[in-house]
């Protein structure tokens, strides 16, 4: 024990003052996450605001933690929530159970379910941690309309899946297709072009094509993507 020891100690403190800070200023100034961070889920919408979810329950089936509960519903001409026959009437994710593995996202056949970078999933009430459909749905962007409403992008569901981006472009709508998928927004805030590999869907490519698990197992996929 030397009398110089305190000096050495303060020396470390003093030297550290001039080094870059490794801690984050959370919550005042949170750092952005990694671009593919598995945060809270989001149920995406078609460019006209209709929901992409068809209530197929494949996410619930894939979920290893049994965190997802889905009930399908029947679209009618009077009340249409998604293109096609079926929509997700009831959709709940229990964040007390969710382990953020992302298998549900892989299972989703319509790219309805994706994950955002939002990680602030803590609460003092268990009930509030069961997110219901209204909290999971993507916000309505400009050009979108709150369902239920008729199909605006075509007469058939095919128009949405095969020609959706093209129809949106022809309508001059915003490039919401890419924006709503938060993980694909570039770090600088820009949105990749619609037909880029990370961005919107290229023409003729089915939603989720090329991603394992997005085509139901046991069914021969069609090359034309329908």
């Amino acid at each position: 024990m030397s009398f110089l020891d305190p000096v050495k100690g303060f020396g470390v403190t003093f030297a550290t003052m001039f080094k870059p800070v490794v801690t984050e200023d959370y919550p005042r100034n949170p750092e952005p996450t990694a671009p593919r961070w598995h945060g809270r889920h989001q149920l995406n919408r078609h460019p006209d605001g209709l929901e992409k979810c068809v209530g197929c329950e494949l996410c619930a089936w894939a979920c290893p933690a049994d965190a997802i509960f889905v009930e399908g519903g029947d679209n009618t001409e009077e009340a249409r929530y998604s293109p096609g026959e079926r929509y997700g009437k009831n959709y709940q994710i229990n964040y007390l159970r969710c382990i953020g593995c992302g298998l549900c996202v892989e299972a989703c056949p319509t790219r309805s379910l994706t994950m955002t970078n939002e990680y602030e999933l803590a609460d003092d009430d268990r009930q509030r941690l069961i997110y219901t459909k209204d909290r999971l749905l993507a916000p309505l962007l400009p050009g979108m309309e709150q369902p239920p409403h008729p199909m605006r992008l075509g007469d058939e569901e095919k128009d949405y899946y095969v020609r959706g981006p093209e129809l949106v472009r022809s309508r001059g709508a915003v490039r919401s297709e890419a924006q709503e998928q938060g993980a694909h927004v570039e770090p600088d805030g820009s949105v990749p072009p619609l037909d880029s590999p990370t961005g919107g869907l290229a023409e003729g490519v089915p939603p989720g094509a090329g991603t394992a698990g997005t085509v139901p197992r046991g069914v021969t996929p069609r090359a034309d993507g329908r």
Partner: protein, 927 residues
């Protein structure tokens, strides 16, 4: 479906060649394994037996082979020469020395199957995420197991409009269809309702219906279950859940006495769907739409959740179980000491629940006034049931489903199996297709009888007994004509060993008929079975829920039987037979009338020909599906107006049946104080012979306790209402028409929901008696103590000649005098009953209500098919329905038993056998 079992004859491997081939068998080799198979067996089944599953879509063991899907291709070599192309193993029968190579050993078969699967998927949409079959789909499974991972098809797929409703309940998606024809073959071969068929040719070939004829079959739901893809789905289950969500329980159907095994699938405490469970001895793999889709009533909003007790202001108020039990026990005890309490149990109860009522009546209420028959009934019926039905089960030699297939002839009396016991109908049809002649005694050649190729032995209601007497007589009168020939043939065939007579519950409507049936069975040696409509009636009979019967079907008047039960129960039993349903209602009304007169409220009794009271609410202004409300309005009117009027009608009704019976109901016996209380378990007043009188009686009774599932007309009038478990929430057992025990477990055990047996047990404790019916298991054990073991070696048919033997009333000889037509009527399968509530899609498949007249009668009236016809009843009520000209007795007119959910008797004041007037609605001469 894939049954794998090694039969004793089928040699495994090695030593197979050494043993001789059993007679009637051939020896073949499948994938190198030597198999002995009965001649005519299909290769696919022989392979199944040795554990080789050949993929298939169209093949179904209960349907004729068709070879439509071509998925089961195998390589076959016969006599050393290979067949040039792979063969469909579902149509290829086995041959001696045949060598079969399936996909397991043959690359050719494997490639053929793989290519065929690719071919079937050519136009199959990628619908799996939204398809109801997804997760339990044979095509999906097959593709996953054997299909190619990539597709070579780049062209657009064929598209159809979808889904197409082929009926209100069944949806057709033609894109998904692989044209296996299971649905069309089922409809044609099993149900006989060929509403659905293949249309068009080539690539536009599709399943379809005639646009004028929706798929209105009582059995249409089976096509959904056997569809190997998601081409047929139901409106009720559309997008409701996925197979992995569902918890399945084996249950038994509560809708009729067929006793079908069901699978009840539930999710989050709600029943999602019901399927037919395979039971080869009973329902094979089928059930009817009523059993499949008729469960919506379980989740109706008027389910009772809490006990209700009528307060000082006369309002029903929710109460605790303790308070409600105390109130019920005190009220029942007071009523018991004041004049007695009658017990009516409906007929939809499980065996143990019915036993609890029967025991409660005798032990706690000290009476034999207990009756399960909430329909037209008679004392003759009670003695028939006691003598010939009680105690008969398949194990004591009673006729079974399987016996029908082997019978030399089947005679149906007062039974329309398609409407009243649909699975019995399917088995009869199977028998008829195998050549079993079916005879039906009745006035109408119904669609059901035509599908059974049944020979109609024409008889008007009331005259059936004479016809049976003719069949009974050895020396039959020589009458010329086709009818006599049929009669002679029936009489001859019934004398062959194994012939079966099936008698329906409607036989009780005709005096003397059940006696005649008994005589016929005795004279011909034919085996006899009674087929009630409701699931609980057969069980209630065994449980002793009849005024004259103790558990086990022994008469109350038999001192030995009484002593046995007294010993088991530890109480003294009333020795006198009790009152039946009609007598109980009459007794209540008589008491009410006397009380009114004592108070000087009414004058002297009105003349008996007074028009009957308040049948009023016409079918049209009755709120659909909510009988309770309408009925309560009706009761206010009835009670205020004329209890006495109802009494007089009842007196007419009762005196005819009871004047010579041991019981002397109210009006004839002034010494009787009349019943002061009623305990009602699941009784629907509209089912009773006279709904208005029954309603007046319930309203006039001093103290009424109702055990119910849902709010009803009875609960609205009861003093204490105790909610009980629905069939999904309790375990128990039904007895089907054979007497076969059909136990089931609770599909949705719900804490705090009690079954009837438990409620009555607790109520008994409040009244200082022990019933030992806390649980179905306990009740069953207690019942076993009260019932002696069944005598081995069959029953003794026709032991004591029933009291009805002595009386073949004039009504049994000929149609009653009067003008007009004789009304013939029975309740159709889908008629808006309370158990069908909550499923509008099912109601949409009900057959349209029509009037049926014979061609000659229609000609006399000058009306044709489809023309509106008015039927006028004795009460002044009128029913107008379109005419359907039907082969039937000229003097008869047929109407459905309920029209727009209102019983015919409430509309017309007439039941089967009564005279009604018929006239064209467009105006013109009536008859």
């Amino acid at each position: 479906m894939t049954q794998v079992a090694t039969p004793p004859a089928a040699g495994g491997t090695g030593d197979g060649e050494d043993r001789p081939v059993p007679p009637g068998h051939v020896r073949l080799t499948i994938d190198g394994i030597t198999v002995d198979a009965p001649k005519g067996e299909l290769v696919i089944r022989a392979a199944e037996r040795i554990g080789i599953a050949i993929p298939r879509f169209c093949d179904h063991p209960l349907l004729d082979p068709v070879g439509a899907c071509r998925q089961c291709l195998v390589e076959v070599e016969m006599g050393g020469r290979p067949m040039p192309k792979p063969q469909a193993s579902c149509t290829q029968t086995v041959g001696d020395g045949m060598v079969v190579r399936t996909q397991v050993t043959s690359p050719v078969a494997e490639k053929a199957q793989r290519s065929n699967l690719e071919f079937l998927l050519l136009n199959h949409p990628l619908d799996c995420p939204i398809c109801d079959k997804g997760g339990e789909c044979p095509l999906q499974n097959q593709t996953l197991a054997n299909g190619s991972a990539t597709s070579r098809m780049h062209e657009a797929k064929r598209v159809f409009t979808k889904p197409v409703p082929v009926s209100t309940e069944i949806l057709l998606d033609r894109e998904r269809c692989v044209l296996c024809q299971r649905c069309t073959r089922f409809s044609d071969q099993i149900a006989g309702d060929r509403f659905i068929d293949l249309l068009e040719r080539g690539s536009s070939q599709q399943i379809g219906i005639n646009s004028d004829e929706p798929f209105q079959s009582y059995f249409s739901g089976n096509t959904i279950q056997i569809c190997p893809v998601g081409a047929l789905t139901s409106t009720a289950y559309r997008f409701r859940s996925r197979p992995f969500d569902l918890v399945s329980t084996g249950t038994v159907c509560e809708h009729c006495a067929s006793g079908c095994a069901l699978r009840t699938d539930h999710r989050t405490g709600v029943v999602m769907r019901r399927l037919a469970a395979p039971d080869p001895e009973v329902n094979e793999e089928w059930n009817c739409d009523k059993g499949r889709f008729g469960f919506g009533y379980l989740h109706e909003g008027d389910r009772l959740a809490r006990p209700l007790v009528r307060d000082a202001d006369g309002q029903l108020q929710p109460a605790s179980w303790t308070d409600a039990m105390t109130a019920a026990a005190q009220g029942l005890a007071r009523a018991r000491d004041d004049g007695g309490v009658g017990v009516l149990t409906g007929g939809r109860l499980t065996v143990t629940d019915a036993y609890a009522y029967a025991k409660f009546a005798r032990v706690a209420l000290r009476t034999n006034d207990v009756d399960f028959r909430a329909r037209r009934h008679s004392a003759e019926e009670a003695s028939f049931l006691a003598d010939r039905v009680a105690g008969v089960t398949p194990s004591t030699g009673g006729p079974t489903y399987a016996d029908l297939e082997a019978a030399p002839a089947v005679l149906l009396v007062a039974l329309e199996p398609e409407d009243e016991s649909p699975i019995l109908f399917l088995r009869l049809r199977k028998a008829a297709r195998r050549g079993v002649p079916v005879f039906t005694v009745g006035a109408v050649e119904s669609r059901g009888s035509r599908k059974l190729s049944a020979t109609l032995l024409p008889a008007l209601p009331g005259a059936e007994a004479d016809l049976l007497a003719d069949l009974t007589a050895d020396a039959r009168p020589v009458v010329a004509g086709a009818a006599a020939a049929d009669r002679n043939r029936a009489g001859q065939l019934l004398r062959a060993s194994g012939a079966v007579v099936l008698v329906g519950e409607r036989a009780a409507e005709t005096p003397g008929l059940l006696t005649a049936v008994g005589r016929l069975a005795d004279a011909t040696g034919a085996r006899l079975a009674w087929v009630p409509r409701r699931a609980g009636e057969r069980g209630a009979l065994e449980a002793g829920a009849l005024p004259g019967l103790l558990p086990g079907g022994r008469p109350v008047t038999d001192p030995a039987a009484r002593a046995h039960v007294e010993q088991a129960w530890g109480v003294e039993l009333p020795a006198r037979p009790g009152r039946d349903t009609a007598a109980m209602i009459a007794s209540v009304l008589a008491r009410a009338e006397r009380d009114e007169r004592a108070l000087g409220l009414v004058g002297p009794a009105p003349s008996p020909d007074l028009p009957r009271p308040a049948e009023s609410p016409a079918a049209d202004d009755r709120p659909a599906g909510h009988g309770a409300v309408g009925l309560v309005e009706r009761v206010v009117e009835t009670v205020a107006g004329s209890v006495s009027g109802a009494v007089h009608h009842l007196r007419d009704l009762v005196t005819g049946e009871h004047e010579d019976a041991a019981v002397a109901p109210g009006p004839q016996a002034p010494a009787e104080p009349g019943l002061a209380g009623l305990l009602l378990g699941g009784v629907e007043l509209d089912d009773l012979p006279d709904p208005a009188a029954a309603l007046a009686a319930v309203a006039a009774t001093g103290f009424v306790v109702s055990l119910e599932i849902r709010a009803s007309a009875v609960t609205a009038l009861a003093d204490v209402v105790l909610p009980v478990a629905a069939v999904t929430q309790k375990s128990g057992a039904f007895l089907d028409w054979e007497g076969r025990h059909r136990p089931f477990d609770a599909a949705l055990p719900t804490p705090g929901v009690l079954d009837d047996g438990r409620v009555l047990d607790t109520l008994g404790v409040e009244m200082d008696v022990d019933l030992y019916t806390q649980t179905p298991v306990a009740a069953r054990a207690d019942m076993a103590r009260a019932v002696p073991p069944a005598p081995a070696g069959g029953t003794s048919p026709g032991t004591a000649p029933g009291p009805a033997d002595a009386r073949r009333g004039p009504a049994g000889t000929a149609p009653r005098d009067g003008q007009g037509f004789v009304l013939v009527s029975w309740r159709t399968a889908l008629d808006g009953g309370r158990l069908l509530d909550g499923e509008p899609h099912l109601a949409g498949t009900a057959r349209p209500d029509v009037v049926r007249l014979s061609p000659r009668a229609a000609e006399l009236l000058g009306v044709g098919d489809g023309a509106p016809v008015q039927v006028h009843g004795p009460s002044g009520g009128t029913v107008t329905l379109p005419l359907q000209v039907t082969a039937m007795v000229d003097e008869a007119v047929w109407l459905p038993g309920r029209i727009r959910a209102t019983p015919l008797v409430a509309l017309l004041g007439a039941g089967s056998g009564d005279r009604v007037r018929v006239r064209p609605a467009a105006g013109g001469e009536g008859l």
